[in-house]
């Protein structure tokens, strides 16, 4: 038999490596004890195999960490992201907007303004823990003849800190030693020979020259950030032996969210007394970008090249700038109905609540101006919600499960809630009927024999009870004719409802067992386009916060439009015994997100509010 004189290097695990080494030694006549583990040769084989395995593992790890797709360590992913000029988004302190009113200060010819300095401190307590909020910039409150000294200011969570470093030939960049640095707050000044100059953060080098006073911010090891300077080509290098002062806030990320009571730590603008009124409670606090987010965003930000041109560029930049935004949908004005050229539309859904505040929209608009093409305006459209209302019937076999009918009902209801939160967290997510049913079946695979559901879709609107208005309800899906129904409202003194007949929306009330029509032409319905238009509608009252109008889709798979988000609402679960068809349990309203009182107003003359 031919001896194996070649050392095979294909093995990766310890046993394969040892077997290959053993075969190699076996082919040599010098030693014969290679088969005995306790021999010296056996010990040597163990040692060599272990060493080879160790090196193979190390090499594999080193190679793994070399690519952004496979790296396991945060530092490795950040290091790879640096190659495409991506800096992970830092932790961000929550920001509140408050109105400060100086109650007794009276202006005169020499006293017309009050200046509130940057980093004026306030405290707020959340869950018995006190957090520091500061003014992120200075504010000048100008006296007004009507309101006196009154103005709106922002308060951002975080404690201000300043570090001073000596700039020298061996010390030209500086690591900020704290975790949870809010990178938005970093400001740098350089003092040399008694002269102080401010340096500004730069994101791209297109406008930089050798005399620009700029600094670069990049990620460093262990979730920290490093400040570095130019080399007298791409930015001015500070003079050697100068002092670099770096100021920033250390924040508590998400923990400052929700703060709505503030107390000044000391003087505010040097004038007292004053009152504070909350315009919007603190929001926008976010953790530092995590490893998976960096892995996902870095190559995509490289695609955008710091320019907002395509719709996905806008989406990426908005999500990068605002970590409190859960979902964004952007479309060009040319895709709008009717087309409006020169505009880009964005709809956003925040993590908390359903609508983004106007303050946040303004901040995003300002941030995106740096990136977008001249003459293209960004407009925000609030997301509208299209509610899917499934009426679910679950058939179960009581002999195949130990669970009761109501337990099965509760399990299915919980699955409905999970399905909603897992599926409808982004714009453009469709509702697929078969996926929905099979997801519900998994609630109890033994007990549930089958699940069926009837799907309706619902729009809500808040009508004026003062003036006649027209309302457009866009279902965006083909509708079945003669299947419209609604929640009740008061119309001409009667408790009335909507229905439809051959493309016409009608208003009726119930008199005994028959319907009496109050308005046989209250609007139109396009079954093909899925749009209901109510004309000159004026109810005198309605139940709850809004009127719900239900329609039945031709297909049970529901597709939302650009700024529409799907939610599940008014879901009922009926559990019946499979053999007898007797209803054993019923849950009339499952607590999905769509079940709360979120509502929307849709008026015809606002095309973008579809």
């Amino acid at each position: 038999m031919a001896a194996n004189t070649t050392l095979i290097v294909a093995g990766l695990n310890y046993d394969q490596i040892r077997a290959n080494l053993r075969d190699f030694i076996a082919a040599k006549p010098d030693f014969t004890d290679y088969d005995f583990q306790d021999s010296a040769l056996g010990t040597l084989l163990d040692l060599l195999a272990y060493n080879t395995y160790y090196n193979a593992f190390y090499t594999n790890m080193a190679a793994t960490e070399s690519f952004i797709d496979t790296a396991q360590f945060y530092d490795s992913v950040v290091s790879r992201a640096k190659l495409v000029d991506y800096t992970p988004v830092s932790a961000r302190g929550a920001t509140a907007n408050v109105r400060i009113t100086y109650t007794t200060a009276v202006s005169n010819s020499s006293f017309t303004t009050i200046t509130i300095a940057k980093n004026t401190q306030f405290t707020s307590t959340i869950n018995s823990i006190s957090y520091t909020f500061v003014t992120p910039k200075s504010y000048v409150i100008v006296a007004n003849s009507t309101n006196g000294f009154r103005g709106d200011i922002e308060l951002t969570e975080g404690f201000p800190i300043t570090h001073r470093f000596g700039f020298s030939t061996s010390n030209t960049s500086f690591v900020l030693p704290n975790a949870n640095v809010d990178s938005r707050s970093i400001s740098v000044s350089v003092t040399s020979s008694g002269n102080t100059e401010n340096y500004v953060k730069i994101d791209d080098i297109l406008t930089v020259n050798s005399s620009s006073n700029i600094f670069y911010l990049e990620a460093d090891r262990d979730f920290k950030y490093r400040v570095s300077f130019g080399d007298n080509v791409l930015g001015q290098r500070p003079p050697y032996n100068s002092t670099v002062a770096i100021s920033y806030r250390v924040c508590n990320a998400t923990r400052g969210n929700g703060a709505n009571n503030f107390t000044a730590v000391g003087s505010v603008g040097g004038v007292s007394p004053f009152t504070l009124k909350i315009n919007s409670r603190a929001s926008g606090g976010a953790d530092q970008e995590n490893i998976e987010s960096v892995r996902f965003n870095a190559p995509r930000m490289y695609e955008t090249q710091n320019r907002a041109v395509t719709t996905s560029d806008y989406e990426r930049i908005i999500l990068r700038e605002r970590k409190d935004i859960q979902a964004v949908s952007v479309w060009g004005g040319e895709d709008n109905e009717p087309p409006i050229y020169g505009k880009v539309y964005a709809a956003m859904k925040p993590y908390e609540g359903t609508f983004v505040s106007s303050q946040t929209k303004e901040q995003i608009k300002t941030a995106i101006k740096k990136y977008n093409v001249q003459s293209v305006d960004l407009e925000f459209v609030d997301p509208t919600y299209l509610y899917v209302t499934p009426t679910i019937t679950v058939q179960y076999d009581s002999t195949a499960t130990s669970k009761t009918a109501s337990e099965i009902g509760n399990l299915v209801a919980n699955r409905v809630i999970t399905f909603e939160s897992n599926t409808f967290d982004r714009f453009g997510k469709n509702f697929y009927f078969s996926k929905f049913l099979s997801f519900l079946d998994e609630a109890d695979q033994k007990g549930i024999v089958g699940t069926s559901a009837v799907i309706e879709i619902q729009k809500r609107f808040v009508p004026s009870i003062v003036t006649r208005n027209s309302y457009t309800l866009n279902y965006n899906n083909k509708l079945v004719s003669n299947a419209v129904r609604s929640s009740s409202f008061t119309f001409q003194g009667k408790t009335a409802f909507f229905d439809d007949k051959d493309g016409i929306i009608r208003i009726y009330y119930v008199d005994g067992t028959s319907n009496v029509y109050l308005d046989s032409d209250a609007g139109t319905i396009s079954y093909t386009n899925g749009i209901i238009v109510l004309k000159n509608f004026l109810p005198s009252a309605f139940v709850g916060n809004s009127i719900s109008v239900y329609a039945k889709p031709v297909l049970p798979n529901i597709v939302p439009l650009r700024n529409q988000l799907l939610l599940l609402a008014d879901t009922t679960v009926t559990v019946t015994e499979a053999t007898t068809q007797v209803v054993s349990a019923k849950i009339s309203t499952v607590a999905t997100q769509g079940s709360d009182t979120t509502y929307e107003t849709v008026i015809t003359n606002l095309a973008s509010s579809y």
Partner: protein, 132 residues
């Protein structure tokens, strides 16, 4: 013509890696000497000492801190028998004897065996003594 059995030779190198005083080459241990060296290696190896081979060894070292009694000898004998059964097929174990010297915290184990390629009994003495 009668069949000629090929002679089995156990051949290993000296684990101390000592060079031959004349040739300067690594010293080779053969047959009984090779087996004795391997056996000593096996007895003095603890479980989990070798990477990826946790059951290799005898566990004799672990008994160093036991109170010395007749039971200790019984346990040691059993541990040595199991280790030889599992990992040293070249050995036919004949006897295991103990020479205890508790005052010096020392125990001498004499393993009397026969290597399978030779009928002559061989004795391996192992001193178990605490190092410090």
């Amino acid at each position: 013509m009668p069949a000629v059995l090929k002679e089995v030779i156990y051949k290993d190198f000296d684990i101390r890696f000592i060079a031959h005083p004349v040739t300067g080459k690594l010293i080779i241990k053969k047959n009984a000497e090779s087996v004795k060296q391997a056996l000593k290696n096996l007895i003095l190896t603890s479980f989990f000492e070798r990477p990826y081979e946790p059951i290799f060894g005898s566990g004799v070292r672990n008994m160093l801190f036991e109170n010395y009694s007749a039971m200790t000898e019984s346990d040691l004998r059993r541990a040595i028998e199991i280790a030889i059964d599992n990992f040293e097929p070249r050995v036919q174990l004949l006897d295991v004897r103990f020479g205890g010297d508790p005052d010096r915290n020392m125990l001498t184990i004499s393993i009397i065996f026969r290597a399978l390629n030779n009928r002559v009994p061989v004795t391996l003495n192992i001193d178990l003594q605490r190092v410090r």
